[in-house]
Symmetry: C2
Subunit: 444 residues, 2 copies
């Protein structure tokens, strides 16, 4: 088999065989196919597409390029979730304790934030002592013992994906649905999940700007899971405005804690209850979403979910006094509230701008490896559709310096747009994509 023949076949729009894809990915992982051939191939994939079978083959080839964990054998109800990333998305911090409290096991590997998108690891590191670098053995031990693990990547998972993603980043081949879907799914499959809820964000603060693009990605990932013998549900949720009120690491941890105490923002609470419900159904702990919903609400209201969050923090060496007394968590030097300059209906709180200004304040990073400031960030106090009187508190900036505050302020003001006429609130979810079907569902 020759790499150039595989490139030409894809260039000419033909379907690659399983053997061709396996050869290409394994030879590329071993550096036997050079980057320039992989780059030409990736561009041909981007422009000519791939069939569902090819995408599944690619996903499995990348998953098999390194270690593969199998959590199913160790637990009856192992379930995972993945979010495609957004602004203010602290869902995992709430959802994982919820489903663990309901009898599921979660051994989850998360990532860091990049650009305007936040990352769960950065949020967890706001909690002094919390370890995100568990070894594979530590990961498996904790999973076996308590079925509740949340850490960074462990072992050599899908190295082909890591290598290909870095190449795509510099060759204009990121924006390919088959490559995005196989990248996400290869890591999820290598991480051992057999049941996965995929939270695909759609909107100005998401990688997929339109619901249609998000739907395509969700359908594709659900189909890959099916073909790979896994179970998946895709949930398309809104990312035009931030999720919840807090953007920034400590601020988001505090909001997650409030939510686990039943005192979180309505949109975040509802979002987490729904995601958790789909996870329970997927791993057969509930027969219907309605039944699941009852279980997760009970777990929230009874305090069981909160206990599972404490269990997680303790297991991973976090200082539990900081979450029991969140006021101990680090605070920004400057806390600057901004008030509505007019009365009216909020018609936009631009998620991408809010995310970018959080990066400006130091809460996120432009490039991998950059240091971040856990305390800084932004609180928004309203949602699209709300009516405000002039002078009401609109948002609050948590900044480390006056200079950064002034840098972020004008864009944050502009991120809020107004209307004289009533504006509909944004939906929380657009659609749910299940194996072999697509349920239409619009919730507000």
């Amino acid at each position: 088999m020759r790499a150039v023949d595989i490139i030409i076949k894809k260039r000419d729009g033909e379907e690659l065989t399983t053997e061709e894809i396996n050869y290409f990915i394994s030879a590329y992982t071993r550096d036997e196919i050079p980057d320039y051939q992989a780059a030409a191939w990736a561009m041909a994939v981007l422009l000519n597409g791939m069939t569902a079978k090819e995408i599944t083959d690619l996903t499995l080839a990348m998953a098999q390029s390194g270690d593969i964990l199998d959590l199913t054998g160790m637990a009856d109800h192992a379930v995972d979730k993945h979010s495609t990333g957004g602004v203010g998305d602290k869902t995992t911090l709430v959802v994982q304790p919820l489903v663990v409290a309901c009898g599921a096991q979660v051994g989850k590997m998360s990532g860091r934030g990049l650009g305007f998108s936040g990352g769960t690891l950065d949020k967890l590191e706001s909690i002094p002592g919390y370890r995100v670098d568990l070894s594979k053995d530590e990961f498996l031990k904790q999973f076996r013992e308590i079925g509740n693990v949340l850490t960074g990547q462990t072992g050599d998972l899908a190295p082909a994906d890591g290598k290909l993603y870095a190449l795509r980043d510099v060759t204009g081949t990121v924006a390919s649905l088959p490559l995005i879907a196989s990248s996400i799914m290869s890591k999820k499959i290598a991480a051992g999940a057999h049941s996965i809820v995929l939270d695909v964000k759609a909107g100005v603060g998401a990688f997929m700007q339109s619901v249609e693009d998000a739907r395509q990605l969700a359908k594709l990932m659900v189909e890959i899971a099916r073909q790979a013998g896994r179970r998946a549900t895709g949930v398309i949720s809104d990312m035009n405005q931030p999720l919840g009120n807090a953007v920034g690491n400590v601020l988001e941890v505090k909001e997650a804690i409030q939510t686990l105490h039943g005192e979180g923002p309505e949109d975040l609470t509802e979002h987490c209850l729904e995601i958790a419900s789909y996870m329970l159904v997927l791993t057969d702990l509930a027969r219907t979403v309605i039944e699941a919903r009852q279980q997760v609400e009970d777990a929230l209201n009874s305090g069981k979910a909160w206990e599972k969050f404490r269990q997680l923090v303790i297991a991973q060496n976090g200082d539990v006094s900081y979450i029991d007394h969140p006021e101990k968590l680090s605070q920004a030097r400057i806390i600057h509230p901004v008030y509505a300059s007019r009365s009216g209906y909020l018609s936009q709180i631009h998620a991408q701008i809010v995310g970018e200004m959080a990066v400006v304040l130091g809460a996120g990073r432009e490039k991998k490896g950059q240091q971040i400031d856990h305390a800084v960030g932004i609180e928004i106090h309203h949602k699209v559709g709300d009516f405000l009187e002039q002078g009401e508190k609109l948002f609050t900036i948590h900044a480390d310096s006056e200079q950064k505050l002034q840098e972020a302020l004008p864009a944050l003001k502009k991120a809020h747009q107004w209307s004289n006429e009533p504006v509909d609130p944004l939906p929380l979810f657009y659609e749910v994509v299940m194996e072999g079907q697509r349920l239409h569902k619009t919730k507000k």
Copy 2:
């Protein structure tokens, strides 16, 4: 400017600016853009195409990546020709003396054969002593003195093209009309030609298999020439069967000598007279093709063209006694005639197969740098449309060993196909593409 943005622009089907193309090519030449980015870009160009303006910009950027000769300032009627390559194509050996005898100046750089396509340099090296490695100074001196130079590439011409071509070869991005056209034209423009006849071959023994593809390439190159302030005529000629009768280096030199003595095969003679006529018109030595045709026929019949071939060989250190007495040129050990196994009309003499069998015999090379055997090759004795009686001589193999003879024999027999019904001869030319117009012309 960032390479990745230029790749993304082309990926999205947008037109690149002159500045973007100049940046990309010059940075790639200086190794500041890595191969993997150029490979992704080349695939995007292949799949999304380029406008005529982009292709001209690319051509000029590649031409300007190294030395640029200007022959126009040194001669009133400098003219060049280029063939896209084929089997038995010894046109240059005949055409250059013809047009020089008519008052044109030719300073031509040729290439070597690769795969089933022959190359002029290999043919010239059949003549003992002939130097194909003139330095730039030697090239210019000989051009100034006699206006008659035929050598290998001199100076650092279009290094960007050399680098990009090597990359395209291993990334499945050869078969792109914009990249093929700009590759050919960048070298021609860097080599100083202001008037160029482009002999674009169409058929099973050519890079362009269909007349339509050849027409597209010819039109594109003529348009590039126009936009770059050059003059060009594109001639689309047949390459389904070999041109002339001889395939193999010494055999082709002998056939060129015969042709210059007025005793060459009818198809080759006619082909050369036509190409030479278009060259004279292009460089204003004749007002019409008919007038030019009279001049080149006179040059052939008077022996003046032959004298210009002798002049060329002498100037480049070739031993003229070998062309005055071609029987002195090296001969293959085995000369094996093959006779018609049946009576009938010849319906095919498959040019690619004949070319490939010439490589099997040792006349050509599979890879750059391989040694070749000048003496070996194939003579065909008939053309498509000819009627033969069983037992007439069909073709002759010139081989170095019995083993290679037996290797080539079955395919060469199969390359000849028969019909019981009369078969039309193949046309010599399909079409002529001139600046701003396209003359339809079919000659037999």
